[in-house]
Symmetry: D2
Subunit: 325 residues, 4 copies
């Protein structure tokens, strides 16, 4: 009777049911695409102990859907190609001098793209919030001087027209990974997107957020592991190194690693960056600052340019060792 009710409900939802009777429980297999259905609703029915998902809830981002690797090209830099790609620069654009100095330094050291925040999500309203459009203009000038494509954060849907005038790749920050309006908005543009994992988001949720972007038509998405929040407080976050091979096995999208936020202290950035490459990441994004102790944000985790140059060399050596470059 309870089983009958569940079977009727399954059929009402347009799916098919198969029964397997056991001595203590009956397993009801549900056949069909249940992605649009709230699986939990079944658990409220009399006699149902739990419902379990079999199919993965994402589709367009899945290797089941596309079996070859996506290459996301940002001004000629192809994320997902054999070669490992390196994005570097300061956390925030603070002033013209700091940014241009940083841009030239990371260019010389071998970076292929420049990062720098003009709009900054800060946990305190009293902290430096970024230079806004002025920062974007400085970034554009740095591109002109160095040829490096620009990666910068977008915080709200309304910023899209402004930021796309200046930037080559739009970063969705960890705190906005489930800002669905923002995901849909960038999904309707064609700009390359750097989607950072939320600090307490599961890999499945990260992929679902990417699915939001692809579902709107934009397939140029690069995923970024940047550390998750755990009980360990010695480091700022816990870099989830497992995420690299797991994501590479589940999705065709490129995957990079952000060791700067993952550890939060400059002296651990290089080992963790190298670990990311050894684990199969398609690239890294690193904070570099010419004068870290004067940085308005994230100084503690920024590398000096000369240390970054050393990281670039070691990265390329490890990439070569595992058959990349």
């Amino acid at each position: 009777m309870q089983i009958d009710n569940v079977v009727k409900r399954i059929e009402k939802d347009g799916l098919a049911a198969h029964l397997s009777d056991g001595s203590e429980r009956t397993v009801i297999g549900v056949i069909g695409d249940d992605r649009p259905i709230d699986r939990r609703a079944y658990e409220i029915m009399d006699g149902v102990e739990k419902s379990v998902q079999v199919l993965q809830p994402f589709k367009l981002v899945s290797r089941d859907f596309q079996d070859y690797d996506t290459i996301v090209t940002v001004k000629g830099v192809g994320f997902g190609e054999t070669g490992v790609k390196i994005i570097a620069g300061p956390c925030s654009v603070e002033d013209r001098g700091q940014l241009l100095e940083s841009a030239h330094a990371v260019k010389e050291a071998g970076a292929q793209a420049l990062r720098g925040g003009a709009f900054k999500p800060r946990s305190s309203p009293y902290s430096f919030q970024g230079l806004g459009e002025k920062g974007l203009k400085i970034l554009a000038e740095a591109r002109e001087q160095t040829g490096l494509p620009i990666v910068t954060e977008i915080m709200t849907p309304e910023q899209l027209p402004l930021i796309t005038q200046y930037a080559d790749m739009l970063q969705i920050g960890a705190r906005n990974m489930q800002n669905y309006d923002l995901l849909k908005t960038v999904g309707r543009s064609n700009h390359p997107i750097l989607l950072k994992r939320g600090m307490m988001a599961t890999l499945e949720e990260l992929l679902m957020s990417a699915e939001y972007i692809l579902a709107e038509g934009n397939r140029n998405v690069v995923l970024c592991e940047r550390g998750i929040r755990t009980f360990e407080t010695y480091t700022r976050n816990t870099t989830d190194i497992n995420a690299i091979p797991v994501l590479k096995s589940l999705t065709h999208l490129p995957v990079i690693i952000d060791p700067s936020h993952g550890v939060g202290k400059w002296n651990f950035v290089t080992p963790v960056a190298l670990a990311g490459i050894a684990a199969g990441a398609d690239g890294i994004i690193v904070e570099v600052h010419p004068k870290p102790e004067d940085a308005l944000s994230d100084g503690g985790q920024s590398l000096l340019p000369e240390r970054f140059a050393d990281l670039v060399q070691k990265s390329r050596a490890i990439a070569t060792t595992i058959g990349r470059k």
Copy 2:
């Protein structure tokens, strides 16, 4: 020499330094308001092992700043008063019949405000996303019929003019707790705000997000503990019951609890709701649905109206026992 450099840097930042020499380390006490300064930058200086925050980073929300309890009044319902306040209703507005039936049921059972989502943040782009303005109109009709004030979620800054036409209290959902643009926008309105703790947010971060709203001028903020993400997977989230007395000790703002999301299964909602009241919460927000097994979202954690009526009675009994009502 290293110490000299740190002291100079402290003074350059407009603060004062006091030294305490130990045999293995020297402690440098920093005096002054360091809220706008990035404490981590000091850790990069030679000879600095770690920096520790002494003052709390929030101000306007703190009991140090205001020593009496804030009462947030929503159409005559005063959150933070002695009496415990109860918000109830379905997760989503699904159609006119469902919502009006729910509204009358929760009204009769003793609820003082009606919840119902018109705009829904969903982890999958393929899930029901809410009725939008049509849902708001149904909510307004329910208010007309029952007199209950309306609590509904705002997801983006642009929705503000629309939603404030219909709703009496704006909910900032857990996923948007650090959507700073949204926080600033609602901070510039004068509408009462229900700010939910992010499932990954520390109590300090929740208070900093409230600080964003107060810093813009809106002091009508009610905080809501709704469960955090932990390693335990038997329940949807882990209700952080400690958060209730801790928040009440740190801030003058009212604090309520959402047991529905905290446990995720209807049969555990009532005990956890009662726990929240016993721990000192100023109210609860509960999902109630006349036909949970047909709900388009969160059916598994919704109470039937008759079970909700029982919860209301027990809640009032416990409130009375601890000197509330």
Copy 3:
């Protein structure tokens, strides 16, 4: 072919297989008692995406196995009865005066059992490690003077003969929840056991550890929720209040709550204790110390006797309100 192999393996393990074919995946239901089998081994077979457990892995502790509540009686104090039971006392036995003073104070305030550690698991080898047998003798003297049964921690199997000479209930501490040798040893005695949840243990693991004790023949087990480790650092641990109704629904064993370790600061102990009772706990265990600021361990989370007396009164009031006493 892949399916055939899995089915053969299932049958080799003495179980039966039922197939449900879907368009993208096939669900294979496995029928039989798979508790002794390593489910993960199936996941390595070609074509298997994941294996999911349907039956709970515990048996003797389950409500499926015994449908009435177990009452664990400790010198006439029945844990699991309608009345809520209260254990109190200092973290450690420090000296005769401190313990006897504490014992009389908690007795007068209404406690029904006395706690006090003679063997202390400390994370530092340089911290106070307990008085050992001398502490046990002081506890026995306190029992003689007050009539309160004694609850004290056992750390190793060899301590069993010694501790059972003095104590009425043996506590297995959080760090030893998966010390299987210790679990088996106390399982072979008939002494009542207070089994604390490990700070990193799921509810299922807690129940499996209790299963170890019952499987050896000792059914006198009381479970204790004492806070889990999460990302929140404001409190010492996060009291998992959900655990109370969840455990009560899964097992027939009594469940109590330890708010002292759950919050770690005395001023939050009372609200969280009351929350535990409102959520359905069968009792509480609380740290009480006549001079908390001089305590050799856990002073910061210990209540003064007069505050404990207030907690007892409020606990009984809430218990009565929800039909207990």
Copy 4:
């Protein structure tokens, strides 16, 4: 007055106090070795908001105490030397054939030590618990045939005389990381110890557990990162890759990584092992099984011998790239 009391208490504890007055708070610096003192007790004093630890609580394991790297030699294999060391073998000794086949396979592939459990901590009392002494004898026979030193788990203090007859290195498993009696017991032997991090232990707690062993006189301790428990459930645990460089910076003890437990699925083991080496680990410990699908435990995360051989080659290549071998 409040300050006076705190200062008096500090002096009573044999320490010295230095005051730094601020406008809102006073910072009291405490000078002296406070390791044996319970810092939290101060927080209960009137007027004290919080107490903060400045000195690290561990001593013998610290680089402050010993500035050169410890080499732990196990039958000629030097953990902590420039060369990366590899331990491999099945989770459990299941029978003579399986173990000897595994031993020869890992030897040929380049392993330097053989792992295999004779005593197994299992979360279920109904799971395979290991062969006990019979398993130890099989391990000894494998050593005779291959020359590989033997690493096996010790679960209780009483097993010490038996296990040291057969094993060359004693493993303390994750669940026993804070089994202090066991730590003290192995501390009094002189056998090399492989101390695994508990799945929810902080790095500080891991180092404190090592301190227990060193404090008893045994300095032959190798630390092992094996994954921590987080909210992410796609992998069995979350490998804390940050732990490698952090531990190497804090302690002179060798640090290795266990990718098998860190990810829990064989197909992610190799990338995570390589990541560990790139991050600076002194070695790896990997589960290898000739027929993983028939393993009595951990089959799902065991590598086939040929895949392990590939891992060894890649490991050595990366080690060479970063100046090891």
